[in-house]
C-alpha cells in the first residue's frame, strides 16, 4: 500500500514540543506544495492541531525512517532528538491510525468531537491545494465516515469530560433549555470565562458579572452582552439569578448561607450554584437550602471520571467498527491498483471504436448510423467489462499484477507515453 505517516502527539511529545510543531494554515499550504515537488511523493496531506502534527504521504516508494524524520524536522522545526520520538506508520497501520484519530480514540480526551472537523479541514485543504491523490482522498473520506459512524453507533463521545462542560451538563439536567435563564458570574478570570463560554454555547444569554476588579468585570460583561453587578454580589443579585457561577481567587467564601437564605425568600424556583473556585467561594451548607443545588469542583470531578470510564468502555466497540473499515479500505486498495490500467484500456478501445465507426460510417444508410454506434458501444462494453472483472480478480484474490502489466502493454498506442507511467506504477505496487 502506498501510504505512510509520521507524526507527534500527546503520547510522544510534551506540550512545548507539540506547540512548536503545530503548523499555521499558511505553513501547511507551503509545506504541502513543497512536499509534492518531491520526486517520490505523489500525494501529501498534513493534519496539524494543538495536540498533534501528522504528515500523511502517498509515496511511489516508502521513505526510510530517517527521510521521514527529516521531513518532520524540516516543516515543524522540531529538533533531531524530538523527531526521534515521532511515530512512523506504513500501509494498513497508517489507515488504522487515521481512522482511530478521526474517531477520537487516539485523542488525549477520549472521544473528543473537534478532531473530526480537524480531519475534514486537513482533507479539504490538501484537496483544494491539489496535493492529495486518489489514495489519500479515499483514506480521508473514509476516515470522516468512520468518525461519524463511531460517534453515532457508540457512546464514545457521550457525557461531559471537562469541568466546564460538566457544569453545562448539570445546568441542562436541572433547567432544560438554558436560554432565558439568568446567570450571575462571580469572578472574571480564566476559569470563569471558560465556564461562561460553555454556558453561552449552551444558550444562556442573560448575564450579570461581578468581580473584585471592576474593569475586568466590565470586559467580561461586554464580551457576554451582560451587565456589571456589585462585588460581592448583593442579596438582590443573588435572588435575580437562576444560576450562579463562582470562580474567584478569594480565600474566604464570597457566598454565605445567610445571604443565600435571604435571597431564597425573594425568589421562586430552583437555583443552581456552580462553585468552580479552589479554595471554594461558597459555604458548604448552601446546598441544604430548599430548591438549591450546590456543585463544587470536586463534585464535577466525579462526573468527569464517571463519563471517562463510560467512554473507555465504549472504545472497544469503536475499535471493532474501525477494524471493519480498515479491511474494507485494504480491499478497495487492492482493487484500485489496476485502476490506471483499466482507464488506459477503456480510453484506447474507445478511441479505436470512434475511429472505426467514422471509417465505416459511409457504408451504412443514415438511418442505420445510430444503430452502428449503439452496436459498437455495446461490443466494447462487453469486452472491457469481462477484462476488468478478470483484472480485478487477479489483483484482489491472487495479488497478481502480471495480467495488468500485459494488458497495459497490449493496449498501449504510444509505448513512450502513458504506458511507461502505468507500468512504473504497477512495478511500484509489486515492490511493496
Amino acid at each position: 500500500m502506498r501510504l505512510e505517516a509520521i507524526g507527534l502527539n500527546h503520547r510522544t511529545s510534551s506540550i512545548d514540543v507539540r506547540d512548536r510543531a503545530a503548523l499555521t494554515p499558511e505553513k501547511v499550504n507551503l509545506a504541502l506544495h513543497d512536499l509534492i515537488l518531491s520526486e517520490n511523493i505523489e500525494g501529501a496531506l498534513i493534519l496539524s492541531t494543538c495536540n498533534r502534527s501528522e504528515f500523511y504521504l502517498s509515496p511511489y516508494h516508502h521513505h526510510s525512517e530517517e527521510d521521514l524524520r527529516c521531513i518532520l524536522q524540516k516543516y515543524t522545526g522540531v529538533t533531531e532528538e524530538e523527531a526521534c520520538d515521532a511515530y512512523i506508520l506504513r500501509d494498513e497501520k497508517t489507515v488504522s491510525h487515521l481512522f482511530r484519530v478521526s474517531a477520537g480514540i487516539d485523542s488525549q480526551m477520549l472521544g473528543e468531537v473537534q478532531i473530526l472537523a480537524q480531519v475534514k479541514n486537513a482533507y479539504y485543504t490538501a484537496h483544494d491545494e491539489g496535493t492529495s491523490n486518489s489514495v489519500l482522498n479515499k483514506a480521508f473520506l473514509r476516515a470522516i465516515e468512520v468518525g461519524k459512524n463511531v460517534r453515532s453507533n457508540t457512546e464514545i463521545s457521550r457525557g461531559a469530560v471537562s469541568v466546564a462542560s460538566a457544569s453545562v451538563k448539570i445546568a441542562e439536567r436541572i433547567f432544560g433549555e438554558l436560554s432565558n435563564r439568568r446567570v450571575l458570574l462571580v469572578g472574571a478570570g480564566q476559569t470563569a470565562r471558560l465556564a461562561a463560554k460553555h454556558l453561552a454555547t449552551g444558550g444562556v444569554d442573560r448575564w450579570r458579572v461581578c468581580n473584585r476588579t471592576l474593569a475586568n468585570a466590565e470586559v467580561v460583561a461586554d464580551l457576554l452582552g451582560g451587565e456589571v453587578a456589585s462585588y460581592p454580589p448583593s442579596v438582590d443579585e443573588l435572588a435575580w439569578a437562576d444560576l450562579i457561577v463562582t470562580a474567584t481567587a478569594a480565600i474566604e467564601p464570597v457566598l454565605t448561607v445567610e445571604n443565600m437564605r435571604t435571597a431564597k425568600k425573594k425568589r421562586k424556583g430552583i437555583q443552581l450554584l456552580l462553585d468552580l473556585a479552589v479554595p471554594r467561594d461558597s459555604e458548604p451548607g448552601i446546598g441544604d437550602l430548599p430548591d438549591t443545588y450546590q456543585y463544587t469542583v470536586d463534585d464535577f470531578q466525579d462526573l468527569v471520571k464517571a463519563n471517562l470510564k463510560a467512554r473507555e468502555n465504549e472504545a472497544e466497540r469503536a475499535e471493532n467498527i474501525i477494524e471493519g473499515h480498515v479491511s474494507e479500505f485494504a480491499e478497495w486498495y487492492q482493487e484500485n491498483r489496476v485502476a490506471p490500467t483499466i482507464k488506459q484500456l477503456q480510453e484506447t478501445l474507445e478511441e479505436l471504436r470512434i475511429l472505426e465507426v467514422k471509417q465505416y460510417a459511409k457504408r451504412f444508410h443514415d438511418t442505420d448510423q445510430e444503430q452502428v454506434v449503439l452496436f459498437s458501444k455495446s461490443l466494447i462494453r462487453k469486452v472491457t467489462s469481462l477484462m476488468i472483472a478478470n483484472l480485478k480478480r487477479a489483483s484482489l484474490e491472487e495479488n497478481d499484477l502480471s495480467m495488468a502489466k500485459a494488458v497495459a502493454r497490449a493496449v498501449s498506442l504510444n509505448p513512450n507515453g502513458d504506458l511507461t507511467d502505468v507500468l512504473k506504477r504497477l512495478d511500484d505496487e509489486l515492490s511493496h
Binding site: E155, R158, G287, P290
Partner: protein, 275 residues
C-alpha cells in the same frame, strides 16, 4: 363488529404497546436516537388508533365506554396514552415514558380480562349523557392527577441523583428537572379543572335526579374528599406555598391517596349498582 371492538382491536393495541415497551429501553443510546424518533411516531400512531377505537366503541354502544370495570379500565388506558402522547409532543420524556407505557399495558390487559362487553343492555343511568360525561371527565381528571404524581416521582428521582452526585442512567435519560416540574404542574392544573367540572356535574345530577340520590350521595363523599385534597394541592402549587421538591413529594402522595379513594369509591359504587 362487536368482537372486533371488544377483543381483536384491544388485543392488537396491547401487542403494539408491548412491542414499544420492549424497545423503549434502548432509545437513549446514540444508536437508538433514530429508533427513538420512530418509537415516538409509533406511539403517536397507537394514540390515534386507541382514540379512534374509543370513539368508535362509544358510537357502537351508543354510550361512552364507562359502563363496566373493563370499559373503565380501557377508558383510563386511553386517557393515559393520549395524555402521554400530548406530553411527548411538548417535552421529550425519554425513559420516563416506560411508566405510562407499562400502565397502559396493565390497564388494557386488565380491561380485556375483565371483559369489555357489558353482555346486557346498559343501565339507564349510565346511558344518561350527564352521568357518562361525569364519569369520563372524572377518569380524564384522575388520569392527569396520577400523571402529575408520576412526574413528581420523576422530579424526586432526578433531585436525589443530582443531590447525591450519582450520575447513573436515570440522570442522563430523564427529562430535565424544569421539564418535569412543568409537566407536573400542567397535569395537576388540567386534572383539577376536569375533576371540578365533573364534581359540579355530579351535584347537578343529584339535584335533577332525586331517584338516584341514595347511590350517588354515598359515592359523592369520597369524591368530594378527593376534590378538596386536589384543590388544596393545586392551590399550594399555584401560590408556591411549598418548595418545588416538597410539592413533587406531595403530588406523589396525593396520587397514591387518590388511587386508594378511587378503588374504594368506584368499586363500592359498581357493587351497589349491579347488586
Amino acid at each position: 363488529m362487536s368482537g372486533l371492538l371488544t377483543t381483536v382491536l384491544p388485543l392488537m393495541m396491547l401487542i403494539g404497546f408491548s412491542v414499544i415497551l420492549g424497545m423503549w429501553n434502548a432509545p437513549c443510546h446514540p444508536e437508538g436516537r433514530k429508533r427513538y424518533t420512530s418509537l415516538v411516531l409509533s406511539g403517536n400512531f397507537l394514540a390515534a388508533i386507541i382514540g379512534l377505537w374509543w370513539v368508535g366503541y362509544s358510537l357502537f354502544q351508543r354510550a361512552l365506554p364507562v359502563a363496566t370495570p373493563g370499559q373503565l379500565l380501557a377508558t383510563v388506558a386511553t386517557c393515559v396514552w393520549l395524555g402521554t402522547s400530548y406530553a411527548e409532543y411538548r417535552v421529550s420524556q425519554r425513559k420516563l415514558t416506560i411508566i405510562p407505557l407499562a400502565a397502559v399495558i396493565v390497564l388494557m390487559a386488565s380491561a380485556l380480562a375483565a371483559g369489555l362487553n357489558t353482555g346486557q343492555d346498559l343501565p339507564e343511568n349510565l346511558v344518561n349523557p350527564r352521568a357518562a360525561i361525569h364519569i369520563a371527565l372524572s377518569l380524564a381528571g384522575i388520569t392527569l392527577i396520577l400523571g402529575s404524581g408520576v412526574y413528581g416521582a420523576g422530579e424526586i428521582i432526578l433531585h436525589r441523583q443530582i443531590k447525591s452526585r450519582s450520575f447513573g442512567q436515570w440522570f442522563h435519560d430523564m427529562p430535565s428537572m424544569s421539564d418535569l416540574n412543568r409537566l407536573r404542574r400542567v397535569s395537576l392544573t388540567a386534572g383539577w379543572i376536569l375533576i371540578t367540572i365533573s364534581i359540579a356535574s355530579a351535584l347537578g345530577t343529584l339535584w335533577l335526579m332525586p331517584a338516584s340520590r341514595e347511590v350517588t350521595v354515598s359515592h359523592l363523599h369520597p369524591m368530594l374528599t378527593l376534590w378538596a385534597t386536589i384543590t388544596a394541592l393545586w392551590a399550594a402549587d399555584r401560590f408556591h406555598w411549598l418548595a418545588q421538591q416538597k410539592m413533587a413529594l406531595v403530588s406523589l402522595l396525593v396520587s397514591a391517596l387518590m388511587v386508594l379513594l378511587i378503588i374504594v369509591s368506584v368499586i363500592g359504587f359498581f357493587t351497589r349498582f349491579f347488586a
